[in-house]
């Protein structure tokens, strides 16, 4: 299977989501605005839940709403991420596999990304992620050399800056949106902040 690129925006939001709810399992959807057929580039993500991940109704509502938003914004759902509450075990849970399977039905080349909590300590050097791809109807570990994070150092720095400034609390996931529907789960405000921090270095986020 081919290379998968993870953009700064997608990585930072995913990472901040797991930092915002350190005692919960969190999950979300990975999106791409790149055309079908080319190499897979995850350009954005939508944080979904931080409670009751295996329960169906809210997940279904969220998937529908994100689908509609993607259609409006020329994006597509290309993957799923999850961070487990228990840092000692970063393997995909049954509910992660189920949702990833559903996504793979619509998008061949879909990826399943687990955030490895054990690697998120201060001063961590490598991206704390483990990626799976679909081979022969099973999710198998993807060769980490095929996962590209352009300008990793700068991406890591952006994430840390947002944590230090407390701006990570700007992040809205679908769960928070349901608690207060005036909150924007597309995270336009946070996206702008990330673009601001990333732009001196990156040409594109």
């Amino acid at each position: 299977m081919g290379e998968v690129e993870l953009s700064c925006l997608a990585y930072v939001k995913m990472y901040l989501h797991s930092c915002l709810f350190p005692r919960c399992s969190v999950n979300g959807l990975l999106l791409s605005s790149s055309p079908v057929g080319g190499p897979l580039c995850v350009t954005d993500c939508v944080p979904l839940l931080h409670s009751h991940l295996p329960l169906a109704p809210i997940t279904q509502v969220a998937l529908t709403q994100v689908d509609v938003w993607c259609a409006q914004t020329q994006q597509r759902i290309v993957g799923y991420y999850q961070a487990n509450a228990c840092v000692s075990d970063s393997s995909p849970t049954p509910c992660a596999l189920k949702i990833a399977d559903k996504i793979a039905e619509q998008c061949s080349g879909a990826v399943l990304l687990m955030i490895d909590g054990a690697k998120m300590s201060q001063g961590y050097r490598v991206p704390p992620i483990v990626m799976y791809e679909r081979k022969d109807s099973r999710w198998t570990l993807k060769d980490k050399h095929m996962i590209m994070l352009r300008q990793w150092e700068e991406t890591r720095s952006v994430a840390n800056q947002l944590l230090d400034s407390g701006d990570h609390t700007l992040l809205v996931d679908f769960d928070s949106h349901l608690d207060d529907i005036t909150k924007d789960w597309t995270n336009q405000k946070l996206n702008a902040k990330i673009a601001e921090l990333a732009s001196p270095v990156n040409g594109n986020v």
């Binding site: 329960l55 169906a56 529908t64 709403q65 509609v68 228990c86 005036t182 336009q188």
Partner: protein
């Protein structure tokens, strides 16, 4: 770095009251508690009177959450000095060991409390938390079940057990726990709504029907519960679209779903007043409603 009192222009009494509010309402906003509590302890301890001990406890636990072992240790020392033989303080010492992942040492401490006092629920619950932290979910569930046989009124424990079962995808048992909670807390809309979500996830017509009823009940108790509103919409739509239901059931559920959809639309209109994000959420609801119409006909 500016102090909390400077940044927010508050007095030490305000800070003390805030800590009390957070304590009473069981908030786990640990970073804030550490900021406010540390300053209160360092600058105003003489004014706090006997309150200081419970504040030490609160700040210590928050410090553990924020990886501030220095602060946790100093709070613990003050408490040990004041209450040398206290089980309550021993439990705090155990929690510090847990935070340092010294689970065997923590367990020894809790076991010694239980030897002295078999009914010490706090120590038993800490031992279960250790199992959970170690990923030993099946054991945690077993221990928690045993605990609940003895302490059948412990709401927090029933809720914890329901969460553990949900994560293990044992929805029938999760539902049982939530039923216990609903019986003892009939006005709590959250338990109704969680029960409904579990039933919905279990699937099948009977469960969907129950789900719909309990989503409706949750809305009766709190008509702003968006999850319950969406849940009512989803369950009623599925029931209405199913070929297995009678004409009357279909008709009723079409009505429920339409009502839910209109309430959702209204809520989003009020919330968004035409902002871009709410437009897309509204569109999603409209699309959901349209798709339901198609399966109706």
């Amino acid at each position: 770095m500016a102090s909390v009192s400077e940044l927010y222009d508050v007095t030490w009494e305000d800070m003390r009251d805030k800590l009390r509010k957070w304590r009473d309402e069981n908030y786990r906003n640990s970073e804030q508690i550490v900021d406010v509590g540390e300053e209160l302890i360092n600058e105003h301890s003489s004014k706090l009177g006997d309150d200081i001990w419970i504040i030490y406890e609160q700040v210590m636990i928050a410090a553990l959450d924020c990886c501030r072992d220095d602060l946790a240790w100093s709070c613990l020392q003050e408490l040990k000095r004041q209450f040398p033989d206290s089980h309550r303080v021993k439990r705090l010492a155990g929690m510090r060991l847990e935070a340092l992942e010294r689970y065997d040492d923590a367990n020894k401490l809790y076991d010694s409390i239980l030897q002295d006092d078999q009914t010490n629920t706090a120590a038993r619950k800490r031992k279960i938390s250790i199992l959970k932290a170690q990923g030993k979910t099946a054991e945690a569930i077993r221990e928690l079940n045993e605990y609940l046989e003895q302490f059948v009124g412990d709401q927090e424990a029933w809720h914890e057990l329901s969460e553990l079962y949900i994560n293990e995808h044992d929805y029938a048992k999760a539902a049982f726990c939530l039923e216990e909670l609903m019986m003892t807390n009939p006005h709590n809309h959250l338990y109704c709504e969680q029960y409904a979500e579990v039933k919905y996830t279990q699937g099948g017509m009977d469960n969907l029907d129950l789900a719909r009823k309990y989503f409706a009940q949750a809305l009766k108790l709190n008509n702003r519960n968006m999850r319950a509103l969406f849940g009512l919409y989803m369950s009623a739509s599925h029931l209405a679209a199913s070929p297995k239901v009678s004409a009357k059931v279909k008709k009723d559920n079409v009505k429920y779903a339409a009502w839910a959809a209109s309430q959702i639309n209204r809520a989003y209109q009020l919330a968004g007043r035409g902002t871009k994000e709410s437009k897309c959420s509204m569109k999603a609801v409209e699309e959901m409603l349209e798709s339901m119409q198609i399966t109706m006909s």
